[in-house]
Symmetry: C2
Subunit: 641 residues, 2 copies
């Protein structure tokens, strides 16, 4: 065993390594998380480290078989043969991508508030946490009840409950807290179903009940909002890439990784330490709060993400008969420490319940946020995530299915794709000279293309005849904006680096288009099959609610032209943003929403597409722009063909 | 800051130290716990370490002001001035004393069993933990309930309960466990007061409910027994010194230490890591079990020890109006992780309830084990611990008080004192030549004197006229067995090293006798005051039960002659051993005993001796052998005076 000393921007760690061990693996073992989206295949070129001392053995052919002091090299491409000192540059560490914090509350506050009020109007309201300010009698020789008993005596009277449970940490705080505040304290508590009260926090006497964090853990992205529990106001919103992405882009690859060696543990800690906790810290920092102020935590995620977050073996989810380890989550006792969350140790944790292997808490949260069950008319919720999920229902029934769309809607597996954050091209038009004109989120220089931009771009490439129905560039059209690589794969230059003074061209390749077509085909065909399984058609729908992190400004016309959505009256479509996060937020601020989700999960019927006859045919037909049955999409008829 | 490298027998740690820092403190900060009963005063000479490299500054006058490489020195007596390498020898580390494991179950099994049966006959029986073996239906595409829901569905039917809580760790185990056992598993659960069931363990299908550990945390000693929860059988019994002892011999000194710097944390971790956990490991090892097999843990301790074990600030216990942070413990939620116990993470933890600042769970456990409340006649329980506790009561009432006896009964603060374990002199007679004849526990060479031996020894010294009523040696008696040191303090040689081939003489000094007289005076006078507060006398007692780790063979006659116990009919005395541990055991094996203790605690009246008029007079009168009022002890009249 050799010592490998790893110099980090603010820290130095030393770890033991065996001769022949892969350096990337050694660094991961040391808890140093490198950005390696290809997971060590040597293709992404991102896991660059600097060799300060010692020599390594190269695993892939290079100029030399060994590399020595001072060289920059890819950690995944070499193995340890002697003691080393390596420096990991800051940019190599940025594993979860930068956090995008939305500071301007006018952008999000109204949205959350209106959904919260709408839910309250329909279902009423109940808080998870109550706060009681108690003035206890000061003890005397005659009234010498212990601090805990004194508190519970007073609490029982104030809250009208018989049984109280107090955690040992609260008991630890109590002696000083009481005496420093003249025996007046505030108690934050939650009422258990059986009427027992559990004290979550005991603190100096102020009425404020504390803060909550609602999270949506998506396969590709993690989003969170910080909530003032006194009034339900959202104080900040932030998102980042799910750090698990480097271990696999979709749920199937994650499951496979989880079942190998230490994989489950790596995935569990990756999403918590590198995605959720950084988001919590960023949100808290922005609002001047500490992790300890967070006493309520709500999370919505698909079934696989929920399993991985809880550290529960997910492999049986993908093996017939596709059995989750858990779905209904109300009877799971889970603490912040169980998950490694950097919040108050006693925080109440709410997990949105799942329905089946591939329909998770994100969709039960989404249904709640979309108000799908509150109308008699048939409505559909389409969640454009990596795991595309669709719900068809009304107040009488709800049926759901899921399809593997891949990360294309969120910019994943697209050469210049990115999430819908500042710098993303969110809408595109192509002019008569085959040149793209676009709008960038935040008005800055373009950095990539987000989901809504991709829809526009592909619709425009098709409209102008640059690509055909299969998504291939037509070589007969002569334009400098389409170029071909050595293998003959075409790419369209959306933003040339010279023109926009950016580090590299922003472009779209035929492979990117393929990935996007597969995503949109998966969603459209799943929606068709879900409807036809009940003998219905798109025309029977009163409303389609579209959710997902695809961007706020989807051009509906273009989305129909490429065959993502059916050609219905535009009034029938509503874009509701990240419905999973909104549902997670609702659950956080209203106990009735938590209960509603549990009920919704129990009442939902799940359609397993993979065993449904006709789904593959529908998928194949939808794998064109817009579809083999062009009559379904009359608006696309004017496209150049 | 300098690096101090600490070489331990099986490990090496490095810690940073500032110039001028005391080396003992540096080592403690590094988590190295040294045997330092004088807590760094430089008087006990036990914190010896070897200086391998570097020089230190001596804090106390020596031949030189600094010490250099290779020297053996007292860690408490020097400070750091440069980087050091020190070796800590194994014997310096033996902080909690050796563990005394009782392997011969015939010595203890019958005792526990008879108390268990007696309690059951009077109060009935209920287990804390139930076990159910469940055969679940194997899942299919049509019956695709999740693993957790499948388990709880089956469990609800089998156990007849509505609400089930399952910890996330159990959920983590479930997927493989079910599939490896044909969907047949055993569930260990406890029923909460509201009827909810909490699953503590899910395991391969065998009916065995697991194992429990009952502990008595005394101020000086910690004792534990390992229990098979299937039948309540005790598999092993062990005891060791409370490692907190090095931070102070009695509860007042512990409280003072707890309130300084990191003291509370040091005390909490000392008793858990160095006393309780080693006992658990030793007991488990002896029975071939793992810590994970321990699913139930019961602890009885005095109020201060309970506070320190829980890591709760104890300072207000000693300040008027003497308010504990907690007494009734049924509403405190505490986990193995909260305390750092090396048992199953989900183990149920039972804490014996306290009555007041200085009457703790040890006494409510003791009252339960002594069956004091089940008779109409007045009985008294005397617990001869460091904190001497006395209960007077019958089925109608119970009154209790506590006195600070110090550790003398357990051999503490006695030059050659030791606990009642193998090697201890447990009974003594002095012959006509003033030579001691004694019996040693285990029949081996004498190593020290335990409580019962001290009673005999002092009674015999008095009987033979070697000491007077004040415990001073009479210089007029000429014997080689009494010698005087340079300050004129006399000592009696019980076992000369040459005669018994032992490393050093075993002796008793006048200071030792003083300490013992104070202990016996505190107990006797407390008993008197407790009786007189109710207008009663010793003659009104039908029975006196004597508890404590003083030894199994107290010579009652001698105990009366020295004025420890009143001169009553010997039939009225019963010696019941460690009643706190027995009560802790009862609570472990019978939920009704846990409830009985809670009730007993609530019904007990506490008499605060320190404010009771007349107590000091009684104490002063009792501080003689046997007492200023010799008529109370007629048997002592024949002593030579």
């Amino acid at each position: 065993m050799f010592d490998v000393t790893v110099k980090l921007p603010h820290d130095t760690v030393t770890v033991k390594a065996a001769a022949g061990e892969n350096l990337l693996q050694v660094l991961r073992t040391a808890g140093v998380q490198l950005d390696a989206p290809c997971n060590g295949n040597g293709t992404c070129g991102k896991c660059r480290v600097k060799l300060e001392k010692g020599r390594v053995k190269r695993l892939r052919p290079g100029r030399q078989d060994t590399a020595g002091g001072g060289e920059l090299l890819l950690a995944c491409s070499c193995s340890v043969t002697e003691p080393l000192v390596v420096t990991v540059p800051g940019e190599t560490l940025l594993a979860c991508g930068s956090i995008c914090l939305e500071r301007d509350s006018s952008i999000f506050a109204g949205r959350y508030d209106s959904v919260k009020k709408a839910f309250e109007a329909l279902h009423g309201r109940e808080n998870h946490l109550q706060t009681a300010v108690l003035q206890l009698d000061e003890p005397t020789l005659d009234d010498n009840l212990s601090d805990v008993d004194r508190l519970t005596r007073s609490f029982r009277l104030a809250a009208g409950c018989d049984r109280v449970i107090i955690n040992v940490e609260q008991a630890r705080k109590l002696p000083h807290l009481l005496r420093e505040n003249g025996f007046k304290v505030a108690v934050v508590y939650s009422r258990l179903p059986d009427g027992t009260s559990r004290l979550l926090d005991v603190k100096a006497p102020r009425e404020h009940p504390g803060y909550g964090i609602a999270v949506d853990v998506g396969t590709t992205s993690v989003a969170a909002c910080l909530v003032d529990l006194e009034n339900g106001r959202v104080l900040g919103e932030a998102a980042c890439t799910n750090a698990q992405s480097r271990y696999g882009a979709d749920v199937i690859n994650r499951i496979i990784f989880a079942t190998k060696g230490d994989g489950l543990h790596l995935l569990q800690t990756a999403v918590v330490r590198e995605s959720i906790n950084p988001l919590i810290r960023e949100l808290c920092l922005h609002s001047g709060l500490r992790g300890d102020d967070i006493v309520l935590f709500s999370v919505a995620a698909n079934t696989v993400m929920t399993h991985l977050l809880l550290g529960v073996w997910p492999d049986f989810l993908r093996k017939e008969p596709y059995i989750p380890a858990l779905t209904a989550t109300e009877n799971i006792a889970v603490t912040a420490a169980d998950l490694g969350l950097c919040i108050n140790k006693n925080a109440l944790i709410l997990l949105a319940p799942s329905v089946a292997s591939y329909v998770g808490g994100d969709i039960t949260a989404g249904v709640t946020a979309a108000f799908l069950r509150e109308t008699e008319k048939n409505s559909m919720l389409i969640d454009l995530g990596t795991n595309g999920e669709i719900v068809l229902g009304n107040s009488e029934f709800a049926m759901t299915c899921a399809c593997s769309a891949g990360p294309a809607f969120e910019g994943g597996e697209i050469s210049c794709g990115m999430r819908a954050v500042a710098g993303a091209i969110e809408s595109v038009a192509i002019d008569g000279t085959y040149t793209a004109r676009f709008k960038v989120i935040g008005g800055q220089k373009p950095a990539g293309i987000c989901g809504s931009g991709l829809i526009d771009l592909i619709a425009e490439l098709k409209r102008t005849g640059l690509i055909d129905a299969r998504g291939r560039f037509r070589k007969e059209i002569n334009t400098a904006n389409v170029v071909y690589d050595a293998y003959g794969v075409g790419r369209y230059i959306v933003a040339a680096k010279e023109r926009y003074d950016i580090p590299a061209d922003i472009y779209l390749t035929e492979i990117d288009i393929d990935n996007f077509i597969r995503a949109k085909a998966a969603v459209y065909s799943a929606a068709c099959v879900l409807l036809s399984s009940l003998g219905l058609d798109f025309d029977d729908l009163a409303e389609i609610k579209v959710a997902g992190g695809i961007g706020n400004h989807i051009n509906l016309d273009n989305a129909v032209r490429i065959g993502l959505f059916p050609a219905l009256n535009p009034d029938k479509f509503t874009f509701i943003g990240n419905s999973s996060l909104t549902g997670s937020y609702l659950s956080l601020v209203n106990k009735k929403a938590t209960a509603f989700m549990q009920q919704a999960a129990q009442q939902m019927t799940y359609l397993e597409l993979s065993v449904y006859p006709g789904y593959m045919d529908e998928f194949v037909s939808a794998s064109f722009i817009p579809h083999t049955d062009s009559r379904r999409f009359p608006s696309a008829a004017s496209d150049r063909s």
